[in-house]
């Protein structure tokens, strides 16, 4: 129980510090949101009016307090940049709420692909004694790790979209309209995210298993008369999973926080793309909430990994 309280306090403190840091960063970077919104042709009276509307004529401390108290009350404010209709700006909650499912489903699909492919692949690789298979896998994983995901995205689009016509490039289908079509389209960006991660995870698992296979307990298990199968899956894999779980945790945090580049390449209206455009247009309310979301996701995933550890290795919680 004490453990949870400690974790939650750390979470709140971190979120607070991050929000202050992001706010300060916005004060420091050049660029003025009013000019960004109004361009170069607006009458000066309009600039004044907008400054007043957005509360930009107040001192920074007042602005931060006002924003923070709103967030605590659940009011995330309105975007500076995106309109809801002719006269209203889009509430941040609505804006992000609409984009979040895209990023989360993309993350879920990628993760499923990663886990489904990398773990069996890693195990088979570790067990394989064939030098040719080993060399081939080594080569393939090395290459797929080295390819940057945006380039992989372009390759996937070209190959599956233009050559094989399996999907329409940029033909993103909204989850509101057609959920199956939405998932079908997401499969390809998910593939671009998954390929390098699969390679990394499989390599990681293989190396981890090979190290474990040299341990004393493996020899003991064999001498006890355990079958190879039993040793591999019952003992080695479980121990070898420890570092892999941490690694998967890192990957989850990375993709749930928004796959900026891949979203860009596939034209997905997700969190990552929203973050980039919000920073570019100095859309402070949106950027702050997105940064807080990402911080939260990272901390939360590590927290889950922590718990998973205790499940895999009961010794940790005993300490």
């Amino acid at each position: 129980m004490k453990y949870f309280v400690k974790k939650i306090i750390t979470l709140i403190m971190t979120l607070f510090l991050v929000s202050v840091a992001a706010f300060l960063a916005f004060q420091v970077i050049p660029g003025d949101v009013v000019t960004s919104i109004l361009g170069t042709e607006a009458p000066p009276e309009r600039e004044e009016q907008l400054r007043e509307e957005l509360g930009l004529n107040k001192p920074p401390v007042v602005r931060y307090m006002r924003w923070a108290s709103g967030v605590i009350k659940g009011d995330f404010g309105r975007s500076y940049r995106y309109s809801k209709n002719m006269n209203e700006m889009m509430p941040v909650k609505e804006l992000i709420g609409d984009k979040l499912p895209v990023t989360l489903w993309l993350a879920a699909l990628s993760l499923i692909l990663i886990v489904l492919v990398s773990i069996p692949l890693g195990v088979l690789w570790a067990r394989s004694t064939n030098r040719f298979v080993d060399a081939a896998l080594n080569c393939i994983t090395q290459v797929s790790m080295a390819v940057p995901s945006f380039f992989l995205g372009v390759l996937v689009t070209y190959l599956f979209g233009i050559v094989f016509h399996l999907f329409a490039p940029g033909g993103y289908i909204s989850y509101h309209d057609n959920f199956k079509g939405f998932l079908g389209y997401l499969l390809f960006p998910a593939l671009s995210i998954a390929i390098p991660k699969i390679a990394m995870t499989a390599r990681f698992l293989r190396n981890s298993m090979l190290t474990e296979m040299k341990s004393d307990y493996v020899r003991t298990a064999y001498s006890k008369g355990c079958s190879k199968r039993r040793v591999m899956y019952g003992h080695v894999l479980r121990n070898a999973m420890m570092p892999v779980v941490t690694f998967l945790g890192m990957i989850i945090a990375e993709i749930v926080a928004g796959s900026i580049v891949v979203e860009q390449v596939f034209g997905l209206p997700g969190i990552g793309r929203l973050l980039i455009s919000s920073i570019n247009t100095r859309d402070f309310p949106v950027t702050e909430i997105l940064i807080l979301y990402i911080t939260f996701v990272v901390i939360f995933v590590y927290f889950l990994v922590d718990i998973l550890y205790r499940v895999i290795d009961p010794r940790i919680s005993e300490k």
């Binding site: 050049p30 660029g31 003025d32 000019t35 960004s36 361009g39 170069t40 042709e41 607006a42 009458p43 000066p44 009276e45 309009r46 009016q49 975007s79 995106y82 309109s83 209709n85 002719m86 006269n87 609409d98 984009k99 979040l100 989360l104 489903w105 993350a107 879920a108 993760l111 499923i112 886990v115 372009v154 689009t157 979209g161 329409a168 490039p169 940029g170 033909g171 289908i173 989850y175 509101h176 309209d177 057609n178 959920f179 199956k180 079509g181 939405f182 019952g234 894999l237 479980r238 999973m241 749930v256 860009q264 390449v265 034209g267 209206p269 793309r273 455009s277 570019n280 998973l308 499940v311």
Partner: protein
């Protein structure tokens, strides 16, 4: 134990799936519906011969756009990328036609008093808003009061802030009084007419009188419009629906064109057009952009006219044109667009379009820099075209002893530091004309808020005042030509070229029309 681990992973996955919200299983939309059989025949001039082309009514088109829109309020939208879309939804009393001339839109007629201070507009019979209501004089008064600041003290469009009174004469006539005469003001009456009171309504969706009506807007995805069946221009528009889809980058645009996700995409680069030319109709026309190496005249080094002239001489516009736009740009030596033929003064001979290295060197030596100078070129890095041009210039300048280096900055930084702050030495970018010749000239008056090059010439200021006051078109044109000459003699800025707009249009479509201002008119597009 193994099972436990697996079930944990599964739970994590599942809970993530649940958290991410549920989407509904709806019906899929086909990307392109078949045009209806109803068709008309129209004659269309192409490649010199008259061909009869079948134009069909109906169908959907997806147009790729580069930026997200900045406002759904036509009076508050400032980005060129937004205005080019809203042109399809909203109209003013007058509007610009494809030749850059004014045509009557919501007004069927107008007259201007001799002193240029009173405009009388007669409203066209039976023009309807998208909500079905007929446009009344009240709507016109409301809209003009709103943009001019008479409504709440805050003008929304600078040019129209000179309006001092809007009076309803009768149900079909509106009289507008302005504070000072300006023959170019009439262009600004293209400002959108919206239903009275809609600027204050919290849930107002954008309602105009244009050929298309607003359907929906999703941030980062795009804006959808549908046919206005009651549009006052007989026979327009052809299409049932147009989807303006935001495309992230030039690379994805290329993919989406090839995958036929989008059917029209403007602003192609030269190399992209080359890739697409077998599968698409590639159309090109001069843009409304005046590209230049803007020189900060207040900079210690550049305050010397000889240094500025040396830069103009050292620049090889021919090569730059060839490298960055495949030779398709129009070279210029003044701020005026060559398309505005009656106002444009061809001054390309003044400093030549090729590099005149010896003259540049001599001028620099005379100015006291026998060993050359160092120059910083600030470029908004999001503009690939300007970045490439800057690269070419840096190479060219070397021969004349000008050691230039590029300082790429992000767009917002450019706006605050360069444009508003005027803290730069030289900057490579473009000004976009609003269609009026005065727009390109008035910014170089020494006290203009838009004079970011700090150009200061008493003679220029004097001539500009005469030009603004002139009521006779020929007289006005002559003053404008004189202004261009003064600017060129002073080498106030090194003008380069007017780049082309290159558009890829699906071979199934016809009717794409270019305008001398930034608009994408979808009303004339049809399926062949």
């Amino acid at each position: 134990m193994k099972k436990k681990l697996f079930s944990l992973l599964l739970t994590a996955l599942l809970s993530m799936a649940v958290l991410s919200g549920c989407g509904s299983d709806g019906t899929g939309e086909s990307s392109e519906s078949n045009p209806s059989k109803e068709s008309v025949e129209s004659t269309q001039a192409s490649t010199g011969t008259e061909v009869v082309e079948k134009t069909m009514y109906g169908g959907k088109v997806v147009v790729g756009i580069q930026q997200d829109i900045d406002s759904l309020d036509p009076h508050k939208a400032t980005a060129a990328g937004t205005k080019e879309i809203l042109f399809n939804i909203f109209e003013g009393l007058v509007k610009t036609d494809k030749n850059g001339d004014l045509m009557n839109a919501i007004a069927s007629d107008y007259s201007v008093s001799e002193d240029g201070l009173v405009y009388t507009f007669t409203l066209r019979e039976g023009v309807k808003f998208h909500n079905g209501n007929v446009v009344t004089a009240e709507d016109v008064k409301y809209s003009l009061d709103r943009v001019s600041g008479l409504l709440d003290g805050t003008p929304l469009i600078s040019a129209l802030s000179v309006i001092t009174n809007v009076e309803i004469i009768d149900t079909k006539t509106v009289q507008v009084t302005v504070g000072s005469a300006n023959t170019e003001l009439i262009y600004s009456f293209a400002a959108a007419i919206i239903p009275a009171g809609s600027g204050e309504d919290e849930n107002a969706s954008p309602i105009g009188t244009g050929p298309f009506s607003y359907v929906s807007y999703t941030p980062q995805v795009g804006i959808v419009v549908k046919k206005n069946a009651e549009y006052w221009q007989e026979g327009l528009p052809y299409l049932d629906e147009v989807n303006f889809k935001i495309v992230n980058s030039a690379e994805t645009a290329l993919m989406e064109l090839q995958g036929e996700t989008i059917q029209i995409y403007a602003y192609l680069t030269d190399s992209q057009a080359e890739v697409l030319k077998d599968k698409f109709q590639i159309l090109a026309a001069p843009s409304a952009n005046v590209q230049a190496l803007f020189l900060n005249n207040a900079d210690p080094l550049l305050s010397d006219v000889r240094v500025r002239q040396a830069i103009c001489y050292a620049m090889d516009k021919d090569t730059a044109n060839l490298f960055v736009s495949g030779g398709n740009s129009v070279l210029i030596s003044s701020a005026m667009l060559p398309a505005l033929t009656s106002y444009y003064a061809d001054l390309n001979d003044a400093y030549g379009t090729g590099a005149e290295v010896e003259k540049a060197k001599a001028l620099l030596k005379e100015a006291g820099y026998p060993n050359g100078i160092d120059l910083e070129i600030t470029v908004p890095s999001n503009y690939e075209f300007h970045m490439q041009t800057a690269d070419v210039l840096v190479e060219q300048f070397k021969a004349a002893g000008i050691n230039a280096k590029i300082n790429p900055v992000e767009w917002n930084t450019w706006l605050t530091d360069v444009y508003n702050g005027r803290k730069y030495q030289t900057t490579l970018c473009a000004i976009t004309s609003d269609g009026t010749p005065g727009y390109l000239m008035n910014r170089f008056q020494s006290d203009s808020k838009k004079n970011f090059v700090n150009f200061a010439s008493a003679k220029y200021d004097e001539v500009y005042k005469k030009a603004a006051a002139a009521m006779d078109p020929t007289e006005k044109a002559n003053y404008y030509k004189e202004l261009q000459k003064i600017m060129s003699d002073e080498a106030g800025t090194a003008f380069i070229m007017v780049p082309p707009i290159t558009v890829a249009v699906s071979p199934k479509l016809g009717g794409y029309t270019f305008y001398p201002i930034y608009v994408q008119d979808m009303s004339t597009i049809y399926y062949k």
